[in-house]
């Protein structure tokens, strides 16, 4: 220090100031990078944790939610909790796990009303429009309905029965004569409340609610569905519809569900309204083989 004496005090002070600032910037910067990277990881919400109704997209939610827990307090069914630091969810943010306690879909949505920041969007006033996630029948090997049993619990327990989940009838290929009642989730109706997942009687649910972006595919932007476009245009856009002519053995006719049967005139394979005979085969469902 004594050796530094000749230097101008102002210059020395400036030097000290710059050194101190650099030290601070480095130390605090390191801490910041640590927290920043942690924050980046914490943006990924585990699939089993669902946000309350009306929650903004996860990235926006983490900037809007102040972790006050008022949604937790105003939930009359106590399904919400705030994440603790050891859980793989952004610390302090609200979530629920459908398999433990699903959302009861209160009509007045008290959790959204309680939110002071709009992290739960106050524009959501109809709980039927909530998108907490999307139910997916993930395990088609163990789902009882897929095995041909009439479990139907997910369908019956769904608050939007026959809208969010419908039962689609199929032929049971195993027995060849029974029906399968396949639960089908409709993403435009499903709120992601998780009642189906909670209700599934298997030890591990065959139907689960996932974050919508995980559960849903997306068609190419340029994709057009021919039949939709045809309906819109009021007729075929490519070539005139033609009716397929089957070359059936003589004296046989084709009957839906039975195949070739002896008899006279074949029933019209193509619905009458269609255009001229041509090459488009219409194969009945049962002949397409396997499951649909």
């Amino acid at each position: 220090m004594e050796a530094d004496k000749p230097r101008k005090p102002a210059a020395q002070a400036r030097r000290q100031f710059l050194l101190d600032s650099a030290r601070m910037a480095c130390g605090v910067g390191l801490l910041g990078i640590g927290i920043g990277l942690y924050a980046k990881q914490a943006k990924a919400l585990p699939p089993l944790a669902l946000r309350p109704p009306g929650a903004l997209k996860e990235k926006d939610f983490l900037g809007a939610c102040v972790r006050c827990g008022l949604c937790v307090r105003d939930c009359p069914y106590d399904i919400l909790s705030l994440a603790t630091p050891d859980e793989p969810i952004s610390t302090g943010t609200p979530y629920f796990v459908a398999r433990q306690l699903p959302c009861e879909m209160c009509e007045d949505i008290p959790c959204v009303k309680a939110c002071p920041t709009g992290a739960l969007d106050h524009q959501l006033t109809d709980i039927g429009k909530a998108k907490m996630g999307l139910a997916v029948l993930v395990d088609q090997e163990n789902c009882l309905n897929f095995l041909g049993l009439r479990c139907d619990i997910c369908y019956r327990i769904c608050p939007l029965i026959d809208k969010a989940i419908t039962l689609e009838q199929q032929l049971n290929a195993r027995t060849g004569k029974h029906a399968l009642f396949i639960p089908v989730v409709h993403s435009d109706q499903c709120t992601g409340c998780g009642k189906c997942e909670k209700g599934c009687p298997l030890p591990v649910a065959a139907i689960k609610v996932y974050p919508t972006e995980l559960a849903k595919g997306e068609p190419g932007k340029h994709y057009r569905l021919g039949w939709v476009e045809k309906d819109k245009a009021g007729g075929s856009l490519v070539a005139p519809d033609v009716q397929h002519q089957y070359n059936l053995p003589e004296g046989m006719r084709y009957e839906s569900g039975k195949g070739l049967v002896p008899g006279g005139e074949a029933a019209p394979a193509v619905p009458p309204g269609s255009a001229a005979p041509g090459t488009q085969p219409v194969v009945p469902r049962a002949l397409q083989g396997g499951k649909l």
Binding site: D20, M24, A25, G27, V28, G29, L31, G32, I35, G36, Y38, A39, K40, A42, K43, K59, D60, L62, G63, A64, C65, V66, R67, C68, G69, L70, V72, R73, D74, S81, L82, T84, P85, D86, E87, S90, T91, G92, A114, C115, P116, T117, G118, A119, H122
Partner: protein
């Protein structure tokens, strides 16, 4: 060596611990109000220190977290802004860092560590500049801007502790234990006095706040140094007490937490609560002499 012995002899134990007891009552009382709901089902206050709703009527928002939220480019509901305005007005009145010494639950943890540190005779430790907190404050704001999330809330022990006590702690205990051990072994006043950006934020309000501690009877000071020992921010005392560069007796330094320990520990009753405007009068009349104490609250 024992701090405050003179004060106890002069004013009695109760007189020498008045503000400390009031402060603990405030800290525990506020915590009790928050806990009354979840533990006893009496819902006077809902939420936690980041946002609370009292009697379904009074919103209170932590302006620091609201600022971070705004920096993530989210516009909160009006209720959050009203709550922040009330909190800002309150701390501008009673002193910015009153939050630290009268409300924040972490203060009890770090005070406990400080008490044990003294009992065990642990001296020294890492040197961390008291300006570090402002760097960390800036860093948390930059993080909010850069990540688009309130990233600091992932690590903030203040909200983590308070929220944990009310909503469930989980591994939060490990963080609080680490904080306690850090205070005990690594750095005295390390968290509250050097690192905490929440305190740093509130100290910015302290620059303008109305209620201040004043060394009104500084002429009576007998240089026992007890106030410097008990003060969590001892650098704030000297200018006011010693009239450095003609400074008035009011402690105007932003980092004074208005904890009142200096008032308790002074056997000569040099200190008292007053207002920041008690200072101007002093400057005009006499730079460093006997003067009438400013109006107390």
């Amino acid at each position: 060596m024992s701090t405050g012995v003179e004060a106890v002899a002069a004013k009695g134990w109760l007189g020498a611990h008045k503000w400390l007891l009031l402060r603990r009552a405030s800290q525990l009382g506020i915590l009790a109000l928050f806990l009354l709901g979840p533990l006893a089902g009496v819902w006077i206050v809902k939420g936690n220190l980041t946002f609370s709703y009292t009697l379904n009527f009074l919103p209170l928002t932590d302006p620091y977290i609201l600022l971070q939220s705004l920096l993530t480019r989210h516009l909160p509901e009006t209720k959050a802004f009203v709550g922040a305005a009330i909190v800002l007005a309150f701390y501008l009145l009673v002193g910015g860092r009153v939050f630290c010494s009268w409300v924040c639950p972490v203060n009890m943890v770090t005070d406990a560590a400080g008490w044990l540190r003294e009992r065990l005779g642990i001296k020294g430790g890492a040197h961390i500049s008291r300006r570090t907190r402002y760097w960390i404050l800036a860093m948390t704001l930059v993080l909010a801007l850069a990540t688009g999330t309130i990233a600091w809330e992932l690590a903030n022990p203040v909200s983590m502790f308070h929220r944990g006590l009310i909503f469930g702690m989980g591994a939060g205990w490990a963080v609080i234990l680490a904080l306690f051990l850090f205070e005990l072994f690594v750095s005295n006043d390390g968290w509250c006095g050097r690192l905490c950006p929440v305190g740093a934020f509130y100290s910015l309000l302290g620059k303008f706040s109305f209620v201040r501690v004043t060394a009104a009877k500084r002429a009576a000071c007998n240089d026992c140094m007890d106030c410097f020992v008990v003060c969590p921010e001892p650098q704030v005392i000297r200018p006011a007490l010693k009239g450095v560069d003609g400074a008035g007796p009011v402690i105007l330094a932003a980092n004074c937490t208005n904890c009142g320990r200096c008032i308790d520990v002074c056997s000569k009753e040099v200190f008292a609560f007053g207002t920041r405007f008690g200072n101007k009068v002093a400057k005009v009349s006499q730079p460093a002499g006997e003067m009438t104490p400013a109006a107390c609250k």
